[in-house]
Each structure stands twice: as structure tokens, then as C-alpha cells.
Amino acid sequence: SQQGEEDPQALSIQEGENATMNCSYKTSINNLQWYRQNSGRGLVHLILIRSNEREKHSGRLRVTLDTSKKSSSLLITASRAADTASYFCATGEKLVFGKGTKLTVNP
């Protein structure tokens, strides 16, 4: 299955620091999507990166994709307490999610 697995499972940082989360998957993909979920609520779409793209930016977010290593990373720069959430990567049309990274940003 095209399963994404995030690493680390949990990350705790201070406000202002950068947070990096990694995602690995098993099979060939057309694209990979990153989502954020606050306290068991709905998922917010962050970024979609296609298989022919290596890097994509959106505000304080930077996503990279290495198809040779079947991995992606999400970097949040200058983190804020409001960034505290779980972050998931997902692949495929019928999205297959990893277990997510729980990010805590301490004020």
C-alpha cells in the first residue's frame, strides 16, 4: 500500500524554532499531501507536492520530496504556539495516512 509513515511521532519545541517532520512511503506516487489536525478536529490541507516537484513553499511551510528515497519532509519555520497540532502525510487518490507527528510548540 502507499502508506505514509511520519517521523518523529512526537516533537516538542520552543516558539520561534523550526520544526521538521519526515514522511516515508512504500510505492510510486503521483503526489503527496500534508495535512494538519488540531485536537481531533477536521484535517486542514497544507500542501500538495507532485512527483515531478522537489520542493514547494507556502508561507512558513516548506515541503521537499525525494522520490528516489520515497520520502518527504515538512519544515515549519519560526514556529508559533498555534502550530501545535498533529501533522500527517498521505499519498494516493484514496488517501493512505501515516500515524502522524504530534507537534507541540511551547510559548
Binding site: 484535517l43 500527517f88 484514496k94 488517501l95 493512505v96
Partner: protein, 117 residues
């Protein structure tokens, strides 16, 4: 981006009863999906809601337990039937193909938090 709403946002139900969750998208979309998120877990796809025909279920999910309707391009329902405490989860609908395009971005509703006693 598409705006997706779900009703109810949460419910507490008795064992053996059924609950129907509604999902409304503010514009026509190509595809709609239903996911389940059990406590402390990630999301698992239940089925693809097909407009005007039977839903396509993933392994481990059956129509008798999770009947799904999708009468048009903007609306779908998921029923959780004959509930047990193990059905306590967040149920989320999602949509892609905004405006009938082939965009791959999948947007999610706010979820329905179900507790079965």
C-alpha cells in the same frame, strides 16, 4: 478551496442504534470519500461515495454496517448501523475534484465525533 460541512458535529448514541452523518460540499466535486479515525489513531478510508450508484468499500468495511448514499455531486451520507462501543470514532468526509476538475487536492470536513455507550 471547497467548504465542507458535516452534521452532526458530535453525538452520543446507545448501543444497537444507528446514526446518519451528512456531508455537504459548497460546490460540485468529482469524488467524495468517508474516513474513520479511531481514538489516538490515524485515518482509515471506509469507502468512496459514488454519485448515483453503490459506494466502493475498502477491505474490512461492508455496506450493511456503513451504508452510504450520494444522490448528487455535492451531498453524501454515511450511516453507522447497529452501533457498538468499538464504533466510537471521528468520522470525516472528504472531497476532491472541485468544480468538476481533476485536481488531486482532497479537502476534509470538520468531522463527526461519535461516542457509543
Amino acid at each position: 478551496s471547497a467548504v465542507i460541512s458535516q452534521k452532526p458535529s458530535r453525538d452520543i448514541c446507545q448501543r444497537g442504534t444507528s446514526l446518519t452523518i451528512q456531508c455537504q460540499v459548497d460546490s460540485q466535486v468529482t469524488m467524495m470519500f468517508w474516513y474513520r479515525q479511531q481514538p489516538g489513531q490515524s485515518l482509515t478510508l471506509i469507502a468512496t461515495a459514488n454519485q448515483g450508484s453503490e459506494a466502493t468499500y475498502e477491505s474490512g468495511f461492508v455496506i450493511d454496517k456503513f451504508p452510504i448514499s450520494r444522490p448528487n455531486l455535492t451531498f453524501s451520507t454515511l450511516t453507522v448501523s447497529n452501533m457498538s462501543p468499538e464504533d466510537s470514532s471521528i468520522y470525516l468526509c472528504s472531497a476532491m475534484g472541485l468544480g468538476g476538475t481533476s485536481t488531486d487536492t482532497q479537502y476534509f470536513g470538520p468531522g463527526t465525533r461519535l461516542t457509543v455507550l
